[in-house]
């Protein structure tokens, strides 16, 4: 087999009737080489082209297709190409394919596109509008199911609710406790260093208690839960979407919102305030420990100072945010999960979106609360 001769082509003859001699190895393996050779063909090939295959070894359909499409793109009509000299056995298929290609090109010649700036802006606006409507509809459906619970207690799926409370709440206690404790120690330690310069060590107690109870306890808990459970909600429901399980539920007359979404939202609604209380406790414990070890503030003094520092509302100002954060996290997670369609890639993308967005919404809501509480003097 003389396949080692590299593929080449040479064009001869007058403009209206050219001979194209194909020489060497025309198997698929030499396609990269053939492609470079094809670039040397002159533009504006009009008239008859005769392809001579007699010197081409083991021609493949891929190289032949590259040749023909190149000739056609250079201005040759697909009807004006002739094949001589033992043409390849798949010639009939090749001719049919070039004909199909010709048809496809002529039927879809010009589709007006939305590629202009205004078009894209409009498309974006419409999509955002639809997206907002989708979110509102989703929220409305959840509220409707929650409303039904009072008239039809069966709509509350107790077993599902307890399972999610366990998974999102009980199993999160160690990590929430640990992080609240450590962050509080860090704040107390750094705060003590700064305050020591003014001889105001005792104010570390104010710093730790107010920071933990008002902001950090609830915010840290919400962010951890968003990362743990928001992603789990999106992934679980997303996989069910891919397996058509949600469609199966609908077909059996079950409402996926009632079966899948509401138990998760309610579970988080109940569990997140509890986790916040635990985080508050662990945060205070961290502050007390550091004050004792590093600043030599004994426990009774810490507590009496704490009682002076705290307003009656400080604890509640933190805790009241927890249910709101819970609803945000659970809704974003479940909504993104319900949006999963078609592919594994979508699942990954929407799970990521769920976590990022729920953390964003939590922090954004926290900012609104901060402004609101200042205005209300809460």
């Amino acid at each position: 087999m003389d396949a080692n001769v590299t593929a080449s082509l040479s064009l001869e003859g007058p403009d209206e009737r050219r001979d194209l001699k194909l020489v060497g190895d025309w198997s698929p393996a030499s396609m990269p080489h053939i492609e470079r050779q094809l670039l040397t063909l002159p533009a504006n090939l009009c008239g008859h082209v005769i392809c001579d295959w007699s010197a081409a070894k083991t021609p493949g359909i891929g190289p032949a297709w590259l040749l023909l499409t190149r000739l056609i793109d250079l201005g040759c009509s697909h009807l004006d190409i002739e094949h001589v000299g033992n043409p390849p056995h798949f010639l009939e298929l090749l001719k049919k394919l070039t004909h199909d290609r010709h048809l496809a090109r002529t039927t879809h010649l010009h589709v007006p596109s939305l590629e202009t700036l205004v078009g894209r802006l409009g498309l974006w606006a419409v999509l955002q509008g639809r997206y907002m409507r989708g979110v509102l509809e989703f929220f409305g459906r959840i509220v409707a199911v929650v409303g039904q619970i009072f008239s039809r207690p069966r709509a509350l799926r107790i077993s599902s609710l307890t399972r999610h409370m366990y998974e999102t709440g009980v199993t999160a206690i160690p990590i929430v406790s640990l992080i609240a404790f450590l962050i509080s120690v860090i704040v107390a330690y750094l705060g003590a260093q700064q305050l020591a310069r003014f001889g105001a060590n005792i104010f570390v107690v104010d710093l730790v208690t107010i920071a933990v109870l008002r902001e950090m306890g609830v915010l840290l808990t919400a962010i951890i839960v968003a990362g743990r459970s928001g992603s789990a909600f999106a992934a679980e429901i997303g996989v069910m979407q891919l397996n058509e399980e949600t469609d199966a539920l609908r077909a059996m007359g079950l409402n996926p919102i009632e079966v899948l979404v509401v138990p998760r939202v309610l579970a988080l609604f109940i569990v997140l305030p509890c986790l916040t209380v635990i985080a508050d406790g662990m945060g205070l414990a961290g502050g007390i420990l550091l004050s004792l070890v590093n600043l030599h503030i004994p426990l009774p003094e810490f507590i009496s100072r704490m009682q002076e520092a705290l307003a009656p509302t400080t604890f509640w100002a933190g805790l009241v945010k927890a249910p709101v954060f819970a609803i945000l996290i659970a809704m974003v997670g479940t909504y993104r999960g319900m949006q999963v369609r078609d592919s594994a890639r979508e699942l990954g993308r929407l799970t990521t979106v769920a976590v990022v967005q729920s953390i964003f919404f939590v922090i954004f809501a926290d900012a609104l609360f901060a402004v609101l509480f200042v205005q209300l003097d809460f």
Partner: protein
């Protein structure tokens, strides 16, 4: 490179495959010659897929030899593996298209891996393969999830043909298709088989496909293979083969055949 004009294309001798105590193949012989469409038939659990995996070199057999183009599949060294892979194309039962890539990107995946081609050339080759399997040109930009069952089978065939193999393995190519789509797939297969001079090994349960396309049939019974042409198979006295080719479903599929050939 493998000599793709070697005959027989596949030669399996005394193949033994077992999982624990369960013996799947016990001295199975099989031979596929150039330019055949060879249908593999067998009851559930008789090891059709295991046979396919053994031939592709994906599973080391517990005994016997598998030769592809006269070379032992298992002893083909790692550096020769790519020429082995390029010499055959496979379609899997559910298409196995990569769900995060478009149809065109799926077809270009093996081309990108093996050839250093420019984007326009890759696009042209994807277009060729898409048109070749009878899909419309606008399928190129679609994702597998946007395709119907029949289109997925065709797209999988297009990907299997991308490297221009001379040997094609099809695992249940018409399963799950409606009869009209399945018949269209049969015709497509026959046309491409003739035009591209392919050798085809097909696992199928579709009796219509079997009767329409296959030149020879291999039936796996009692852990061995009985191969014969279709008329020969119809005369075979083995009870399972008789049941398979003379059951109620088979009779309906045979009817047009008898009118043409035997009747």
């Amino acid at each position: 490179m493998l000599d793709t004009s070697y005959d027989p294309v596949i030669r399996v001798r005394g193949l033994v495959n077992r999982f624990g105590r369960q013996i799947v193949h016990d001295g199975l012989d099989m031979e596929v010659r150039q330019h055949e469409i060879f249908g593999v038939v067998g009851g559930s659990g008789t090891g059709k897929s295991v046979l396919l995996r053994s031939i592709l070199g994906l599973k080391a057999p517990d005994g016997g030899t598998v030769e592809l183009y006269g070379r032992d599949v298992q002893s083909l060294a790692a550096d020769e593996n790519s020429s082995l892979v390029q010499s055959y194309g496979v379609t899997f039962q559910n298409g196995a298209l990569i769900s995060s890539l478009t149809v065109a990107q799926n077809i270009q995946l093996p081309l990108r891996e093996h050839y250093d081609l420019s984007e326009p050339a890759l696009d042209a080759l994807a277009e060729m393969n898409i048109l070749m399997v009878g899909l419309s040109a606008d399928t190129a930009g679609k994702y597998p999830s946007q395709l119907s069952g029949g289109m997925v089978k065709r797209a999988a065939l297009a990907r299997a043909l991308a490297l221009e193999p001379k040997l094609l393995f099809l695992d249940e190519p018409t399963a799950g298709l409606d009869p009209i789509s399945a018949a269209a797939f049969d015709e497509l297969l026959l046309y491409l088989h003739a035009q591209l001079r392919l050798t085809v090994v097909m696992i199928t349960h579709d009796l219509d496909t079997l009767f329409r396309t296959c030149t020879r049939i291999g039936v796996i019974v009692d852990s061995r293979m009985v191969s014969d042409t279709l008329p020969g198979m119809l005369e075979n006295p083995h009870p399972w083969i008789r049941e398979y080719f003379h059951g109620t479903r088979a009779r309906a599929a045979e009817a047009p055949l008898k009118e043409q050939g035997h009747g």
